[in-house]
């Protein structure tokens, strides 16, 4: 295979299999990769997140199996779709009898429909690598006017050394449908892996999608997520992102609201320890009037961890009576931890109600002393305050099984009880 030595991207993908499946989307992505480069911190969108040392590595795309039992969510009663290193693991997966949804391979997605839908949306080098070299993924249809009988859990596991997972998923919530999706990311016997995932979807008129996303990979994993959803009129989209794992995590979450009376909600809780780097970049693009959006991200950063938040809300000229709320709050538990927070509003309409705010602080020493003076140990006092701080984000997870799973995770990882 030809390698252009001075192009880092082509060198990066040079050992990846280039499947000949006739997919136009794949071919377009491959073509677009020519002439692309990895972002440096000179690029505004990547100012605080440095990927250079990760993309120098030679990752492998390796199909294998993994023990996924430990990553299942008890009592979720879900369709469970397991991806190990980005490859679908049929044996580990469970698809329940359900006439409200149909679950296909991503290759079965109609490319004409997809290309029309995603016209003019922006790609980046990682989403293009994913689309050019994806090794599998699901295309889920939630059927018209149906409420999915079961949640759909897409479980990703990394297994092995320096493996890269390129899974690509698409969710099509047809008119008036309703579904709950869980995406989770874990690693097992893996070192220095790279999860590069794309999750896209279409929420049609009157449809509703709720996503709970859990990122708990080992603290040497690079996780780059590109998520893109298109909302039609009177639809609802909600995502809760909980991040405790990964060495470097970059969540690129985009929602384009292409109809009136929509509601868009993004919530995030991220907890950094050691030298973790957790970056949430979000965009809500309001093109039509009478929509609401609410965005709330909270971080608790310890040790030398770094948090990045960049939330952009765009209200286009014709989008009147938009109510957009955005907030990012952070607590630093150590002197070595830091957060870069940048809320952005781009408003071209004149009749809107938008608010945004960002705070970075420490736990209230007076409150800790007050609790200690009642006999509560310093550790418990801190934990009570942290739980109080991010508890309202976790309360957005309505699914009790997922919430119990998250509570258990926090107890095991941090000794925090909620």
């Amino acid at each position: 295979m030809e390698v252009v030595a001075d192009n880092k991207v082509l060198a990066f993908v040079s050992d990846f299999k280039r499947p000949e499946d006739g997919s136009k989307v794949r071919q377009q992505a491959l073509d677009a990769l020519n002439g692309m480069d990895f972002p440096t911190t000179r690029v505004e969108e990547w100012k605080y997140t440095r990927v250079a040392k990760y993309v120098k590595r030679k990752y492998k795309q390796v199909q294998t199996t993994a023990n996924v039992d430990q990553f299942k969510i008890a009592d979720l009663d879900a369709h469970q779709l397991v991806f190990v290193n980005g490859f679908y693991d049929e044996k580990a997966s469970t698809i329940l009898e359900d006439d409200t949804v149909s679950i296909h391979k991503i290759d079965e997605l109609d490319e004409g429909y997809y290309t029309d839908l995603m016209e003019d949306t922006e790609e980046n080098v990682f989403s293009l690598i994913n689309k050019g070299y994806q090794t599998g993924g699901v295309f889920i249809q939630i059927k018209k006017n149906k409420k999915a009988n079961h949640p759909i859990h897409i479980l990703h596991v990394l297994e092995g050394e320096e493996v890269m997972a390129n899974a690509r998923h698409f969710i099509h919530a047809e008119m008036g449908s309703q579904a709950e999706i869980v995406t989770s990311f874990a690693s097992n016997n893996a070192s220095n892996g790279f999860t590069n995932v794309v999750l896209e979807g279409h929420v049609e008129t009157n449809a509703s999608i709720r996503i709970n996303k859990l990122q708990t990979e080992a603290k040497d994993v690079l996780n780059i997520s590109n998520e893109m959803f298109i909302q039609d009129e009177s639809s609802n989209f909600l995502i809760n992102t909980v991040t405790t794992g990964g060495q470097l995590t970059r969540n690129g979450l985009n929602v384009i609201v292409e109809g009136e009376n929509c509601h868009t909600e993004m919530n995030g809780a991220y907890l950094g320890t050691e030298k973790q780097h957790i970056d949430n970049h979000t965009i809500i693009d309001q093109l039509y009037s009478n929509c609401t959006s609410s965005e709330s991200y909270k971080g608790v950063m310890d040790d030398k961890s770094v948090g990045v938040f960049n939330g952009k809300v765009i209200v286009r000229q014709d989008a009147q009576k938009i109510e957009a709320y955005q907030s990012n709050k952070n607590i630093l538990l150590s002197k070595g931890a830091s957060v870069n927070s940048k809320p952005e509003l781009e408003i071209y309409a004149d009749d809107v109600r938008c608010s945004h705010g960002s705070t970075i602080g420490e736990l209230d020493e007076e409150a800790i002393y007050y609790l200690r003076s009642r006999g509560i140990s310093k550790k418990s006092a801190q934990q009570l305050l942290i739980a109080a701080f991010i508890g309202d984000i976790l309360d957005k997870i309505q699914n009790e099984a997922v919430r119990a799973h998250v509570d258990q995770l926090f107890l095991e990882d941090f000794g925090w009880r909620f």
Partner: protein, 251 residues
């Protein structure tokens, strides 16, 4: 119960505020410590409760059988000390009952006692909130958030009733209270008085002492107790002000 000997304390890297304070408090007694602004009243409360930012440079404090100054703030509480704050802290997101349950469980664990059952705990919450006429709803709300000044002080006494301390220090509990709230708080404290516990009232004014009758009144000035008497001393102070004592001592 509490023996303070020659206590000297300063704010960290700052001026000395307590300059050789002696005090002996026995079970069943109520002591009032009065004094003008800046005399060291609140510093005494903070040093006894174990607040960071103060340095004890000399002297000793014995509480029950422990060297109090060796204990962390939480362990002082576990040994049976309670401080009602002059300015109770608001803690958003932490409910009053959740925090008290945590506190009581940790205290019981420290004392090697069994955990309180949920039923007994709730019964106690009901009883203690009735004592200070604290609305049941406030008990389940976030600690002091959105409470009025009077509600905050009543919440302090509510917590005192829950924790049943051996020694309670009430730091300016009367400040900012209207007559009704003062009466409620005082009646609550009076009901909590027993032969087994002791109370130290730190106050600027005599009016609290009309409701809670002290066995001893001490006058604190410039970091020392300069005069001790019975409840009549408080009346005399109210009438003549603090300067009178200074003059008397000077003579």
């Amino acid at each position: 119960m509490l023996t303070i000997k020659n206590l000297h304390a300063s704010v960290e890297e700052g001026a000395e505020i307590l300059k050789g304070l002696d005090l002996e408090v026995k079970a069943g007694e109520v002591h009032a410590i009065m004094g003008p602004n800046g005399s060291g009243k609140s510093t005494l409360a903070s040093v006894l409760a174990g607040k960071d930012g103060y340095e004890v440079t000399e002297g000793s404090v014995k509480f029950a059988d422990t060297d109090l100054l060796e204990l962390d703030a939480e362990d002082r509480a576990k040994e049976g000390m309670f401080l009602a704050f002059q300015y109770p802290v608001e803690i958003p997101g932490v409910s009053n009952v959740n925090f008290l349950r945590t506190a009581m469980n940790e205290i019981r664990e420290y004392r090697k006692e069994d955990k309180l059952s949920a039923k007994d705990f709730l019964a106690k919450v009901k009883e203690a909130s009735a004592l200070v006429e604290l609305d049941n709803k406030l008990a389940s709300r976030a600690v002091n958030v959105g409470f009025s000044g009077g509600e905050k002080k009543r919440n302090e006494i509510f917590q005192m009733a829950m924790l049943e301390p051996k020694l309670a220090i009430l730091d300016e509990t009367d400040s900012g209270l209207d007559i009704d709230a003062l009466r409620i708080v005082s009646e609550g404290v009076n009901k909590l008085r027993s032969k087994d516990n002791a109370i130290i009232l730190i106050t600027h004014y005599q009016r609290l002492l009309e409701y809670i009758q002290p066995d001893f009144v001490h006058v604190l000035n410039d970091g020392k107790i300069i005069k001790t008497g019975d409840k009549n001393l408080a009346l005399e102070l109210e009438e003549k002000g603090y300067d009178w004592i200074n003059e008397e001592i000077a003579q």
